[in-house]
Symmetry: D5
């Protein structure tokens, strides 16, 4: 079932950043309390090639998101310790040094399993042991969620593993949604801020 038009899941997850401190964050409550939009993007794994490119692209656009009252949050199923190690690895070594937004460490998959974006397939219940065996690495696809100030999801998308995202498109979607919030108009296709609807 699509999350669009519904509230984002109401649960707390671990999040860390370049300070190396790990806290709990509840995205639904954060959007509502801080009265901000949230862009949440998931990537499969730390310490891979395509992922840092995306993470740096979101970093480069931080000013664009801030002036649109939008928090940027990254997320993967790695641990806070691994996030911290990666945050301390220079960009030219494949690291993400310089990233300032927080990154969720969903190692227990509480949030990603609820969103249904894990790459596991073919669950098999083993009668003998009572365990469940799966295919796949149990990491997330490249899923992105845009959430408004009331915690409602207004866009969700999932890209296959090897396919990077277009940061500018998310800026456009935020602008278009903000336009609807302000003007109550329905926003036509290919709409750009400043153009006449």
């Amino acid at each position: 079932m699509a999350f669009v038009g519904k509230k984002f899941p109401n649960i707390s997850v671990d999040v860390t950043d370049k300070t190396g401190i790990t806290k709990k964050i509840n995205i639904l409550e954060t959007a509502q309390k801080e009265n901000k939009k949230v862009l949440l993007f998931w990537y499969p794994k730390d310490f891979t090639f395509v992922c840092p490119t995306e993470l740096h692209a979101f970093q480069s656009a931080m000013a664009d998101f801030e002036k649109r009252n939008t928090l940027v949050i990254g997320a993967s199923c790695d641990t806070p310790e691994v996030h911290f190690a990666w945050l301390n690895t220079p960009k030219n070594n494949g690291g993400i040094q310089g990233v300032t937004y927080p990154i969720i460490a969903d190692s227990n998959r509480n949030l990603s399993s609820q969103l249904g974006i894990l790459d596991i397939t073919n669950e098999r219940y083993d009668d003998e042991t009572g365990n469940v065996m799966v295919d796949g690495d149990n990491v997330t696809y490249r899923a992105t969620y845009l959430i408004d100030e009331e915690g409602t999801v207004f866009h969700e998308s999932v890209n296959h593993m090897p396919l990077g995202r277009n940061v500018a498109e998310f800026v456009r979607l935020i602008d278009a949604y903000t336009h609807v919030q302000k003007n109550g108009e329905v926003c036509p296709a290919n709409w750009q801020e400043g153009s006449s609807a």
Copy 2:
């Protein structure tokens, strides 16, 4: 559960076009037999304001999709008769005259319910009558699926009702995915065809 990384549902649905003839189409089989990519986009209802804008935008980009070996298919839960009436309504009367791609008429919701993109919520079973009552119009969100030549979904996204789509972004995603198919490389964020990865 995300459809990305999995085969598109293997079912046949009614589809019509400007000829007014209604046929059956199985998107999975079509992609595989014709060895083409498919862009399938859903909109909520015929004869509304924002929808025709999107439908015209896809029509304008038909050449771009064709040269990328990509079929464009529209879809809503209206009947073939309604699609045909709308296809015969001039653009300046709010119609979609001029649209040449086929439009699915999923009036029995066989496909949209399987994709999980209907706006119904709060299902209530009525013990007395044995019927199920729902909230919502039972029409679809603005969902988009990119499917490759093997029938595998490589992108899916859902926009909230009032939020139009950006046709150029889908062209970019097709190019990026094609690049990966050809070069086996992972495609970084914000990638544009012709730029060096």
Copy 3:
């Protein structure tokens, strides 16, 4: 189970008319509050050939129904937007311009599924996806309900898809039922108002 002798289902559905405004209507409550009889007739789809003929026939008899204290309501599973487009299509273009009674837009099938008049058959539960697949267009047969001032159904009939209705017969049934209401007599076959029972 027949609805005759029972109250009409107590639920609200969307209804629109030539003004293009969509409201909620609860037929049971409307009959009781306005102390009127109701003739509710269902047709399969907007923008088809036989249907407008029936809709125009009911329109032509509006004076007959009004002087018998009877509301006429049309109904199909199309959306309010499609009803409005059809209401604005001239009669000689296959439209129903000129129709003044309201038309129910049961796009979520809340009412038609409760009445059991949808043409879907052969429901199949898909174990793998948990979805239900059906045969048929999920639109209604030509069903007609006559409801009295207390909301009780006193006649129901269903015609196969290609078979039009006889408006005069419904007038006769209303007259006969009204005769029984006034005179407490049982009304013999082929009874006509003014004839001696």
Copy 4:
């Protein structure tokens, strides 16, 4: 669920006529084997006032049905013995002497319960005794079925207890349906044989 568009139930029931002989009849098979249409009408009880009026009305129109290749069959839940007694009661004593078509004696309710036209309501399972108690006389409403030569129902209607039927309307429906069978056209509202569609 409506029976229109489906085959009539495939079961055998007792039927008798003025000869007093009781046989089994399977309406579905009869229509198919004899290649005839069937008009089946149900009435609540033998030896009541309004019922014989209807039964005589159908008798008077026998020639009309015969020339339309249509069998007329009456039906109630009384026994063959009671039907026979009523068939031997003169018309002016409230009897139906003179009726020549067969009358079904559905005393075990095998057919009427399958059609869902019994007036019983409010079934209550008695835990102590394991029996089911009902409200109502367990007799049928005034239901009418038109069945074609393949055994498919093309019209069904149910009138409340005190409301007699219009024999001419059934003749009209048979003619309209026959017109569709012959001409493949959809038959508009208020259609009369001989008028141009």
Copy 5:
């Protein structure tokens, strides 16, 4: 399970008599309130040959039952209208004109199904339709119940369809039971009132 030694079922059923008026009767309450014994006898169908003979035999013995403080009640599954027609049919036409005791019209089988005396066998549940099909006419065997002033059954018997009852035997059983009620003695076989036990 035998009803002997238990209270008669506590339910109300329709009863009529030669006046043609239909009322409700609860046999258990009637016995207790009027402080009378009750003889309740069931026969299969109105308007058959053997049945009127039995009904006349009970009529002839009415004085014997009255002086023993015993109500006589007949019963079948025919409707009150049919009972009334039969009560108005002269004896030499196979009718029961002259019968003065009331006759239960158990057309909904509420009482006869609880007593387990219907001739239906071989119940088959039809999975497809959810209906139950039976063999047999769904009418009663020749069952007789003797009920005392507290509503307790002290004799029950069932005869096969073609086998008439002996009214004198029921008089004997009532006398024997009354003897036990008065004298507290156990009544030996073949006992006759006035003989020494």
Copy 6:
């Protein structure tokens, strides 16, 4: 459910007689193989007062039953040993010395529980022990069955504990049933052999 019109239960039970030898008897098979009618009568307990009276009464009528091709069989839930002791107890000591017909010893209640004539009521399942506790002595009422040469029950009756049976009535029922077997006529009430039906 009545056993009338159905085959007698097809099971074997212990039976003994004045020889003291215990055998198995299957009443259904016996009737069929020996081509005889059977009168089976149950009494509550050996060594009580009213019972021997009944047993002697059946003994006195043995010639009447024999010339009507009818086997007489007594039955209670006592053991064969107790039957034998009672059969050897002189009549004036409360015994049944002189009885020549066999007596069933249904100590395991296989047959009486299937006939539903045991006086137990109010079964209570004890969760702790998994046992069933009952009220009542678990002995039979005074039930009588008349069975024809094909094993079909044509009369059944149950008398309350203190109420003796009338042997002559069973002779009458056998004669009446035999009359029907021979003449195919339905036998009217109060019928006596030799009278004109």
Copy 7:
């Protein structure tokens, strides 16, 4: 499960004796209220050969049990009437005249089924009739229970049908248990009262 070490079942059963009066007895309560031990012995059937021998043996040892504060109670599944007849049958006729202790009449098997000592085996549920059929006579084995003043079972034994009991052994067990009660010592094998443990 063994009953040793647990309380005897807390239920009331019918008991009679040479006076012919039938009462209720609850062995658990009797032991506790009268502060006595109880020896309860079961035998299969009245009026058999080996059983009276045992019953006389227990009678002969009554003085031994009385001076050990122990009640002796016999038990079978026969009725009180049969017990009374046997108690009045002279010893040389195979009776138990002279027996003074009470004998339980467990005709409804409430106690013996709870003790699990009935000889029935191979229970078969008959789906058609809903009855349970068993093999065996549904009488008890030769089971013996020794119960102390608190109602706790301290010995239980079961002998196969043809195998008589040794009364002296039960006297020994009572003495040994009493010795333990008084001295708190554990009682060695083959212990005899008066010997040094």
Copy 8:
């Protein structure tokens, strides 16, 4: 349920003896193959006071059992190692040195749980852990089984923990049963070999 009259459980258990060698024994098969009777006696625990007394008593009577073709087998839930240690402990140290018959080591309770002679009570399922907790030491009562050459149990008894057994009584039971086997007679109470039955 009593085991008397049924086959002894058909399972293999560990058994050891003074040689210290542990083997498997199946008592049912042993009795049948060696054509011998078996006396199996259970005691609660090794290394207690009362138990060795019983074990020595059975040892002293070995000649009596052997000449009656009867195997003697002891049993407890201790391990073979503990049995061996006890078999090597001198009698005056509380050991059972000198015992020559085998002793079952039912440490996994496979046999004792099937016989229902463990002292555990009050089983409680712990929902949280999925374990079962019990009261009691999970050791056996003093149960004794006499089994014939076909493996059928002909005596079973259970003594409360502190109550020793009488070896002579088992010799008597074996003699009595053997007498029945030879003579087909039923053996009266208190019977002794050599006395006239």
Copy 9:
């Protein structure tokens, strides 16, 4: 599931020692009330070869454990009586004379089944008897638990039957854990008390 990081099971079990007195001990409560660590070690069986070696090794290290505020408790599934016999058997006879710490007697397996360290495998439910049969001796592996002053398990290990334990390793683990308790540091591998972490 590992017990490490969780509280030790909260149940009471029997424990004895060289005094031969048997008490109840709840290890969780003991650790908490006495504010001590606990080393609990399980061995398979009393009176075997390898086990006493381990038991003597723990005894030799008692001073080391005491100065570390740690209670040592042994455990097996033998009874207290067997433990006592073994504690009184001299070391050179294979006994454990000289052992001063208490030994749990888990004969009912309440604790060992909850810990999951019994050697039973292959549980088979016997439908006929309702019993569970197992493979294995139902004794424990060589499992060891280290529990802190709050009752939390901080180490658990299981050795296969023939494999003895290293007492010094448990001393090292206690020291390392105590170091963490005091210093809040994480303790590196191969850490020894006094070395710098």
Copy 10:
């Protein structure tokens, strides 16, 4: 349930090493095919402080394990990419550069969930979403398994998170087990290779 005495789970998992290549390994098959012992040790997370200490300690002892025919395998729930990054981080930066044994990347928890060593607790099923929420990081405790050449586990242990392991102890356990394999002797406590058992 302990794994000791049972085969190691038969499943394949991802494993990587300093070459950065990821393969599948099935430990059970590896032990059997290569005829080697396996030491498998789990640690919670890459890029933490205590873990690298343990990993270096196992590396230092590689020669000891090799000469004992034992494979060393590390394991955590991090991905191969993270393992590779850590393997390339110098020791003095908290990395594990220099480690040559392979490290399992159980990111889908297929193996660790089967071993029951994940730190998740308190699973809560969310009825609304159908998801399971857990407490804990879903990483493993410090568990160690010693597996023999047939794939049988002969030692398992789990240390709480902050508690490092003693490599020498595992060497001792391997030596002791090898001694038993060669000599068939049971190995006493504190045993050291070369000492006399």
